[in-house]
């Protein structure tokens, strides 16, 4: 059965490109464009993996991470942070909150990201 990935990203162009490659790789892709929508989808759909941006409208990525890790129903869903924030403090904070991986968008090729997602879902 195909795995479901929730793509939390407020930039439409990035949503489109990342969504395309993930669908081509056989994943079911759900999208959220802000933190509140992300939490709603995580709670109702329980995706197999969340690709989470940190700078988001309404609720930021850290909040989303905190809320989903506090809920026993969703705390085991793996989260990969995909953002352009790259301060040491941001990285440490996200990993402490339970993110599995932290990728800086500008520094990764699309295929690398797909590879990392597949590794986590193996």
């Amino acid at each position: 059965m195909s795995k479901t990935i929730l793509l939390v990203e407020d930039e439409p162009a990035l949503q489109k490109v990342a969504g395309e490659i993930l669908r081509q790789e056989g994943f079911i892709v759900k999208s959220a464009i802000d933190g509140e929508e992300a939490i709603r989808i995580i709670k109702t759909d329980k995706p197999d993996l969340v690709l989470l941006d940190l700078i988001l409208p309404k609720k930021d990525g850290f909040e989303v991470l905190k809320e989903m890790k506090a809920d026993t129903q969703t705390k085991d869903i793996p989260v990969i942070i995909l953002t352009n924030l790259e301060g040491t403090q941001d990285i440490e904070r996200a990993l402490e909150l339970g993110a599995m991986n932290y990728l800086v968008k500008a520094n990764y090729e699309l295929e690398d990201i797909v590879k990392r997602i597949k590794d986590v879902l193996k």
């Binding site: 930039e11 990035l14 490109v17 395309e20 490659i21 790259e86 968008k105 500008a106 520094n107 090729e109």
Partner: protein, 330 residues
């Protein structure tokens, strides 16, 4: 001597001009005026009171009050203008940060879109179009590198960079850089070699001890310096060649040397090589990827850590870049 030299090197007008401030807004100029007012007032008071007005202390007191008032006004002006300079610096920093972070999203989206097309994931593309898209990909990568470097420079200038100080074994960092760049070197027809030298002075130390190459620094910074030097060596070889990384210990310093047989640095460009955004004239045409910030960043970090950076070069034959860093517990 050095104090005298420093004083003679002060050129207030040039300083104010380079900060784009008018003289009456420029703190260094105002300080000089304040000093001059003070000295003239003191001499004047002395001259007046020691001659004909010596019997009238109220005149001396009046002059003192007047001078104090003038000094106070200049003082207020200085503080006000200092604050303006500080505020302008803060705004510049914020501006750089916002621009760079905001730039990254659209650049990432262009970069990934090109990945999709070049990976033929959106269907076949004819060779001519593919060729142009590859150029676009190279430019995009360059833009990413530039934004990254600008952010690094900003962090370094703010002193925010390198706040993760710990013991770093340079030997491990060199090994890591060597492994990371092996395939990049091969792709550029460059042979990458690594050697560790134990010269006469270092034989006194136990080279296998854990402290032999250990320094106190931010590991990311050290990696960035070594990576910069090795990448430069690889990038600036024209067709094929060899880059040798050497690790030495000289007294209480670790010395990293990166030797290449690339294009070398033209003599006229040598003194500018560590300047922000400077790129040597002979590499701009063969290698479009550089940002001109790598060596500038490296120099700031090395000097902050109490080390030195330098190079020797012969145009057309190659260059040797070296860095020394002080070792702890030697």
């Amino acid at each position: 001597m050095s104090i005298i030299k420093k004083i003679t090197n002060i050129n207030i007008f040039a300083q104010c001009r380079s900060s784009r401030l008018s003289l009456w807004q420029c703190p260094s100029f105002l300080f000089i005026i304040m000093g001059l007012v003070n000295v003239i007032a003191m001499i004047g008071t002395y001259a007046l009171t020691s001659t004909k007005y010596g019997d009238e202390p109220e005149i001396a007191a009046f002059i003192v009050v007047l001078v104090s008032l003038v000094l106070f006004i200049i003082g207020v002006l200085i503080v006000e203008n200092f604050n303006k300079v500080v505020e302008a610096n803060r705004l510049k920093s914020e501006f750089v940060s916002i621009v760079s972070h905001q730039l990254r999203s659209p650049i990432s989206s262009i970069n990934w879109t090109l990945d999709l097309i070049l990976g033929k994931r959106l269907g076949e593309v004819n060779d001519k179009v593919l060729d142009y898209l590859k150029s676009a990909k190279i430019s995009t990568k360059r833009m990413i590198a530039l934004v990254n470097d600008i952010l690094n420079v900003k962090h370094i200038e703010e002193g925010r960079f390198g706040d993760n100080i710990k013991s770093v074994n340079i030997r491990e960092v060199v090994d890591k850089v060597f492994d990371d760049l092996k395939s990049f070197a091969a792709a550029n027809n460059v042979e990458l070699l690594l050697e560790e030298n134990v010269n006469e002075t270092s034989e006194r130390y136990n080279k296998n001890s854990d402290h032999f190459f250990v320094i106190e620094a931010d590991p990311e910074e050290i990696k960035m310096i070594i990576q910069n030097l090795v990448e430069n060596g690889i990038k600036y070889i024209k067709n094929s060649g060899c880059v040798k990384i050497k690790l030495d210990r000289i007294e209480s310093f670790a010395k990293i040397t990166v030797e290449d047989n690339g294009v070398g640095v033209p003599e006229a460009d040598r003194k500018y090589l560590f300047q922000k955004f400077f790129r040597a004239s002979n590499v701009r045409s063969i290698q479009t990827e550089g940002t001109g910030l790598g060596l500038f960043i490296a120099k700031i970090i090395v000097e902050k850590l109490g080390g030195k950076i330098g190079f020797t070069s012969k145009e057309g034959e190659g260059s040797v870049f070296w860095v020394t860093l002080p070792i702890i517990n030697h």
